[in-house]
């Protein structure tokens, strides 16, 4: 794929691995620079850190790399993969991510093992044998040079762009502490065999050159590496959404070639092929039905619970399930053109387009680092001006740099995220990238999918109507008994309702029912999903659509029932007609039911200052009916949206200045979930939606979405408090350092106090109380505080 030798000289394609990109704008910038070269067409993907470049003529791969490097990034061609397919390169990518995490873990473990003795020796005078400081230097040096390498590297890249982030602060602080110690050991007095760490709180100035800060340098590195590791591990899972989506489709297909049916892998299918789909099978690709009628279950794609009836000439979508009879389908779109592939592309685009929000710690560092460097320079200048020796002036200036690097900085964000994530999990809110909790601070709009989110996504009986002279019980029992033999979701809803109602209805039935089970059916027959027939209690019973009754059985619908049925249809409900002995006698109205908790949830969103919006593919009347019931304003209903347009609807809201959270469950919601600033998937929904989202609400209770947003707000508050504490102790020590009074004890104390405060502050998040399950959870919280703590760790 990436080799160039065997391809025509005019046009070559290469995939370059780009390094140093920090946001989607970087990708756009590289793309622009590359496309300016003659004969070059490039697309740069920020998320995968890859550039796909097609180039021709005199341009060489080296020119491409040079252009990218001149723009301020790194580029290298990936190792050639022979016969790599889309899926296996995906796996390779995942492997790379695994590698990254395991490399980070290796770095962390080795650094921690090396740092522990350094810390113990520095803190416990008993362990300070003669020449201990040289052992400390030997152990700490690899940590500072190799362990903190990612920070040095990032700091260097940032410096070239004139930017300062958390990495800069760490790199500068760790390097300063190490270089100081190096200098003190070799040139100052610290290298002498009998040197012990001074433990007086106000060290004399003379001791400054004999103090070493190796434990500060190594412990800071370890703490911050551990924070990075936790975050990297949590991040690893992204990208699974696409793999899941592509795995959704049928693996092989029974294609008709020269009148013979042969099974071939789906990816060998071409447009125009005719293939058969047996009942229960997945439709292999998008196509048009040429023969047969059936019901197609598209619930995995759209979330809509009722199968769609199809016949010759109707379009069907790949990956949906043939729920009824045998179908013959002519393929109209294959491979990358199918609706499923389009959804995959939308998800990918939405995930890539998401600019990474600047981390709070980086934001603070961006201001803090220049200030510290200025302070350090000012210290140097002042000491020199008032007539001190250059050595003393230099040591005071370096001391400012050492103390400024707060080691708790590395813990501030990850600990809050970890505790927040853990608490979320207890409450049934699974948080995928913990970073989500930090980045969704300003959510002000919440977009709700209808089916499966506000509603259960399952059909149930909403009402039973009988024409005059017939009893409701009779209608329900006969229909229920007949439908009990069918597998259709509507049929199941009718049968279930009848079974539940049987004990109460028994007395009013025309025959004497001896037990509470539904009567038996004889001669059951399913008419292509349009209706069912059978004999129950001696009656020839028909249950199905009105058109089917009228056209195929010449049974006219009574006027009173027609009005009721039309009213139900207007509300988005489905009326099912029941006839026996040659006359229509009743209707059973079946509808997707609204979850009992949805109304409360909408109210809670309002309390949180969010604007709830209903976004659905369903018709406008049904959408408005649901919106009215749960309390969403009519102007906030967006109905009749095609699956592909859900993502544009979210985009439009974002362009209007809203920060959007989206709650959904279907495959068709996936792109919108990825596009939203905060995507929440129902745990009861499709895997693809879950993968594309940031949060999963395990119980499928919409109220958990309100808790999730409250939790993310609490977490953000905690992070802010942590950053304050992380910096506060070190800032307080800066004047001491500037006066030349910094000692390892003060540095150690600042480190310890700020770390303890940050940890304690983060642990407070465990007490986050949800609104929904307050009664149950609160008690268990109070009763079992210690066990809970253990479970979380």
């Amino acid at each position: 794929m990436t080799t160039t030798a065997d391809q025509p000289a005019e046009e070559r394609t290469v995939e370059l691995v780009i390094g140093g990109m920090t946001c989607a704008s970087c990708a756009a910038r590289i793309e622009k620079k590359l496309n300016k070269l003659e004969g070059v067409a490039a697309t740069v993907n920020y998320a995968t850190e890859k550039a796909k470049v097609t180039y021709a003529g005199s341009v060489s791969q080296r020119d491409l790399v040079a252009t990218i490097e001149a723009t301020g990034y790194t580029a290298e061609p990936p190792a050639a993969k022979v016969g790599a397919t889309a899926l296996s390169s995906d796996d390779a990518e995942n492997g790379e991510k695994d590698d990254e995490v395991s490399r980070l873990r290796q770095r962390l473990v080795i650094s921690a093992l090396l740092s522990l003795p350094v810390l113990l020796m520095s803190m416990i005078p008993l362990l300070q044998f003669d020449n201990w400081q040289w052992l400390a230097l030997t152990l700490a040096s690899p940590v500072v040079v190799w362990g903190a390498l990612p920070f040095h590297r990032a700091a260097f890249t940032n410096a070239r762009h004139g930017a300062a982030t958390m990495d800069t602060l760490i790199s500068v602080g760790v390097s300063a502490a190490w270089l100081w110690s190096l200098w003190a050991l070799f040139l100052g007095g610290a290298g002498a065999a009998g040197t012990r760490m001074s433990f007086s709180l106000m060290p004399s100035r003379q001791s400054a050159t004999s103090s070493i800060y190796l434990e500060v340098a190594s412990v800071v590195t370890v703490l911050i590496l551990s924070g990075r590791y936790f975050e990297a591990r949590a991040k690893k899972r992204s990208g699974a959404a696409l793999r899941n989506l592509l795995n959704l489709g049928a693996k092989d297909v029974a294609v008709l070639r020269d009148g013979l049916e042969i099974r071939i892998p789906t990816d060998q299918l071409v447009v125009g092929d005719v293939f058969t789909v047996r009942p229960g099978e997945q439709i292999a690709t998008d196509g048009v039905v040429t023969d047969g009628t059936s019901a197609v279950d598209a619930s995995m794609l759209t979330g809509e619970p009722v199968p769609v009836e199809v016949g010759p000439g109707d379009a069907v979508v790949g990956a949906t399930v043939n729920a009824g009879g045998r179908l013959t389908v002519r393929a109209t779109r294959v491979g990358a053109d199918t609706q499923l592939a389009q959804i995959a592309r939308l998800v990918e685009d939405a995930q890539n387009g998401k600019a990474e929000v600047q981390r709070l710690a980086d934001k603070v560092s961006g201001i803090f680092v220049p200030v510290v460097i200025l302070l350090s320079l000012a210290t140097l200048a002042t000491w020199l001006l008032i007539g001190n020796s250059p050595t003393a002036a230099f040591s005071a200036a370096v001391a400012v740099l050492i103390i400024a690097c707060p080691c708790a900085l590395g813990l501030a964000t990850p600990t809050a995220l970890l505790v927040g994530t853990g608490r979320g999990a207890q409450l049934g809110i699974l948080i995928k990238g913990p970073q989500v909790l930090e980045s969704t601070r300003r959510v002000d709009t919440i977009v709700l999918d209808k089916t499966g989110t506000i509603t259960t996504g399952q059909m149930s009986v909403a009402a039973v109507h009988a024409t005059s002279g017939e009893s409701l019980a009779q209608v329900q029992t006969l229909a229920g008994a007949l439908e009990d033999a069918s597998e259709h979701p509507i049929a199941r809803a009718i049968a279930d309702a009848a079974r539940t109602a049987m004990p109460a209805m028994r007395a009013t039935l025309a025959w004497s029912a001896t037990d509470t089970s539904l009567p038996a059916v004889e001669g059951f027959s399913n008419h292509d999903g349009r209706g069912v027939t059978g004999v129950v209690q001696g009656h020839g019973v028909l249950v199905g659509r009105r058109t089917w009754l009228e056209h195929e059985w010449s049974i006219q619908a009574p006027a009173d029932l027609v009005a009721t049925a039309e009213a139900a249809e207007a509300e988005g409900q489905t009326p099912v007609w029941v006839a026996w002995d040659g006359a229509a006698r009743g209707i059973i109205v079946v509808a997707d039911t609204i979850k009992a908790t949805s109304g409360q949830a909408v109210e809670q969103f309002r309390t949180l200052g969010l604007r709830p919006i209903l976004l659905t593919g369903d018709n406008s009347r049904a959408a408005h009916a649901v919106a009215a019931l749960v309390g969403i304003e009519p102007q906030d209903v967006i109905a009749e949206v095609l699956p592909a347009d859900k993502v544009s609807a979210v985009k439009a809201l974002q362009e209007g200045g809203s920060i959007v959270a989206m709650v959904g469950d279907g495959v068709n919601d996936a792109a919108a979930l990825a596009q939203a600033d905060l995507g929440l998937a129902m745990g009861t929904g499709s895997d693809v939606a879950i993968e594309a989202s940031d949060l999963t609400l395990v119980r499928g209770d919409l109220r958990a979405a309100a808790d999730a947003i409250r939790l993310s707000r609490s977490t953000l508050r905690t992070i802010k408090g942590n950053l304050f504490w992380a910096f506060a102790y070190n800032i307080a020590a800066i004047p001491l350092a500037a006066l030349g009074l910094l000692s390892p004890v003060i540095a150690g104390a600042a480190m310890a106090f700020s770390s303890v405060f940050v940890l304690t502050n983060s642990l407070r998040l465990r007490r986050f109380a949800p609104l929904t399950t307050l009664d149950v959870r609160r008690q268990s919280d109070l009763a079992l505080p210690t066990q809970r703590m253990g479970l979380e760790g």
């Binding site: 946001c23 756009a28 622009k32 982030t165 600019a355 600047q358």
Partner: protein, 73 residues
């Protein structure tokens, strides 16, 4: 000598600031570029130049720098 300010969208981080600054700085007569970064919003770009720049010149430089655009005033 004049200083103009331009509202610009599309800047998300310090790298964007660097990119826009370097592209604007090479325009004829430009002596200073300052950017007040508003991530994901409208950032304010102040350009000091010997003679005023046209919107077109600035828009071209922004395009050169990446996916940045002058916001409608």
């Amino acid at each position: 000598m004049s200083t103009q300010t331009f509202p610009v969208t599309g800047l998300t981080c310090e790298h964007c600031v660097g990119a826009v600054t370097s592209e604007l700085s090479v325009l004829a007569g430009v002596t200073d570029v300052r950017i007040d970064l508003v991530p994901d919003g409208t950032s304010t770009v102040s350009v000091t130049a010997d003679q005023p720049l046209t919107d077109d010149e600035v828009a071209m430089a922004l395009d050169e720098a990446g996916d940045y655009k002058l916001a409608a005033v």
